[in-house]
């Protein structure tokens, strides 16, 4: 649906990274973890296209919908200027959400950078279903790590990695995860979101680990609703044929085996 969502809060929580709380009851009620909003930042032709952001939280009882975004260009820069009480034109919730298995009690959430956003929403929902939540969260340096306490259910266990070692494990979050892993000993499923190289490594390694794993992917979008074929991601079907699926419609969440890197 298309709606004007009222800004409740729009604040920089770590340098360059903003936490945006919106009020829009229908979106709050309809959203599932893994879905995204496609927002029109100004009522003007610059920037021209909408911008997609994962839903980092949706609260049907208060009508609140959250987004967490990093400033990377003109669109996000303008978004950061949006003040409390102003309205943001949102299309959503869009896309296919994560689909956790009923019978797997342990959920591993693996995020790089702002890729944590959709997993925060997922963690809250899964935790509500009584699942055990393990969060592996990496960034290049400690200054970029979001204060997860604010966003995660209390019972979630968090493991941090930074490339410069300024907080937690020194190195990639995928390595951290691998190092804590005793393969096959535990039944768990993995949900991951982050930079493409990280997801690619994960997908390769998981061929050995063998966990059920779902990845949330990004691609440049125009329509966001499946009409333009713009957000193509290459996939491989079971009979090894390749083709393109739409990140905005069949995705952004894909089974790791589906993606052809």
């Amino acid at each position: 649906m298309l709606a004007k969502a009222r800004v409740l809060r729009n604040e920089e929580i770590v340098p360059g990274c903003y936490y945006l709380q919106l009020e829009e009851w229908q979106i709050a009620r309809g959203s599932l973890p893994g879905q995204f909003l496609h927002v029109r930042i100004v009522d003007n032709i610059a920037p021209f296209l909408r911008r997609p952001f994962s839903i980092a939280g949706a609260f049907p009882d208060s009508g609140r919908v959250d987004i967490i975004y990093r400033i990377v260009g003109k669109g996000t820069e303008l978004l950061s200027r949006l003040g409390k009480g102003e309205y943001l034109d949102c299309l959503g919730p869009l896309g296919t959400p994560f689909s956790p298995a009923r019978d797997i009690a342990v959920s591993v959430l693996l995020a790089g950078g702002v890729g944590i956003a959709p997993l925060l929403f997922l963690a809250r929902i899964l935790s509500g279903e009584g699942k055990k939540i393990l969060v592996y969260y990496g960034a290049s340096t400690s200054g970029e790590l979001l204060p997860l306490k604010e966003f995660l259910p209390k019972k979630a266990e968090v493991f941090l990695a930074t490339e410069d070692g300024s907080a937690g494990y020194r190195g990639l979050v995928t390595d951290l995860f691998e190092s804590t892993l005793v393969a096959g000993t535990r039944r768990a499923e993995i949900f991951a979101c982050g930079p493409k190289p990280m997801l690619k490594i994960l997908a390769q390694k998981n061929r050995y680990w063998g966990y059920p794993m779902q990845l949330s992917l990004e691609e440049r979008m125009a329509c966001g609703i499946g009409a333009c074929q713009g957000c193509a991601v290459k996939v491989r079907s079971e009979d090894d044929k390749t083709g393109y699926l739409r990140v905005c419609r069949e995705g952004p969440v894909f089974d790791f085996q589906e993606v052809a890197w």
């Binding site: 298309l2 029109r40 032709i45 610059a46 920037p47 021209f48 296209l49 909408r50 299309l91 691609e219 440049r220 979008m221 125009a222 329509c223 966001g224 609703i225 499946g226 009409a227 333009c228 074929q229 713009g230 957000c231 193509a232 991601v233 290459k234 390749t242 083709g243 393109y244 419609r249």
Partner: protein, 303 residues
């Protein structure tokens, strides 16, 4: 109440606002926003004989007041379209125009012939912005000879109203428009996208997977309006104008320049309600100006 109906030669539309090919999928996605029967017609994604995978990503780049796309005609091919997408589109009560594309003359001819047999298709639109593989990759729409031959053949192969969609990447749009008319086109669509590219400076390489793409959106509107204005003066067949239309004022520029209908493309991505809003704004405009038919202002800016 003002009458929005228009006749484009043999093609009768309930109103003159269409969805442009490639920007409206097969209609399904927009049907969740409004009823497709409101539209003058939906021009579907370019259809090819065989399924087409399309180009490698990224396929979209934002540009100042516009965008580039390099979808590469991804589509399920004629067979799957007729089996699945077309019936669904018809069940949504849309007026349907089929845009066809090919690598060879034969592709176009087979498509035209087979689609002629199907009930419920309003017209065919020929996408000529495709390289002719047999003639060494020259674009069907770039050469008067190649284009004229194709149109004449398709004309004979099909009983449907024939729209020819011209590419703006040419030296003389008027020459091509005249040739299309005399080869049997019933209607002209102007314009397809301008060829452009964006370079990703941080990666020091072209941003699009396909290197170049087609430019659309408000940025190209002045070029599109100019081409409609020029072509209107030299052909008799009606024109469907498009290129950067997102509101009433934009659409009126095209009508005044000489278009008898307009199509909305990229603007659908920004606001899915663009077309129904434009239709009702147009209705209001006609009423407040006391127009009985849009024909009364078509070409009114010519001088």
């Amino acid at each position: 109440m003002a009458n929005l109906e228009v006749n484009l030669g043999p093609l009768k539309l309930k109103n003159p606002v269409l969805a442009a090919s490639g920007t409206f999928g097969f209609g399904e996605e927009y049907a969740s926003f409004f009823e497709l029967e409101k539209l003058g017609a939906v021009i579907v994604n370019s259809l090819t004989l065989k399924p087409k995978q399309g180009n490698p990503p990224p396929r979209i780049a934002e540009t100042p007041a516009g965008m580039l796309n390099s979808i590469g005609l991804q589509n399920p091919g004629l067979e799957a379209f007729l089996e699945k997408d077309f019936p669904r589109l018809k069940s949504l009560n849309a007026a349907v125009i089929i845009n066809i594309a090919g690598d060879t003359e034969d592709d176009y001819l087979t498509l035209a012939r087979e689609l002629s047999e199907i009930n419920g298709i309003l017209a065919l639109e020929l996408n000529l912005s495709c390289p002719n593989v047999k003639e060494g990759g020259i674009f069907f729409g770039n050469s008067v000879d190649v284009m004229s031959r194709l149109i004449s053949k398709v004309r004979r192969a099909c009983r449907l109203p024939l729209i020819v969609k011209l590419t703006p990447n040419v030296t003389d749009i008027v020459e091509l428009a005249e040739a299309a008319e005399s080869s049997g086109a019933d209607i002209l669509s102007l314009i397809n996208t301008l060829k452009g590219m964006v370079i990703d400076v941080s990666k020091r390489s072209p941003l699009l997977g396909n290197i170049t793409g087609g430019l659309s959106g408000p940025a190209v509107r002045p070029v599109a309006v100019r081409m409609v204005y020029e072509v209107y003066r030299s052909v008799k067949i009606p024109i469907i104008g498009m290129g950067g239309i997102s509101n009433l004022d934009d659409a009126l520029q095209f009508f005044l320049a000489g278009a008898r209908a307009v199509a909305v493309g990229s603007a659908n991505f920004i606001d899915p309600y663009t077309i129904p809003r434009l239709i009702s704004d147009l209705q209001q405009f006609m009423e407040s100006e006391g127009l009985h038919s849009i024909d009364e202002i078509v070409g009114a800016a010519q001088r």
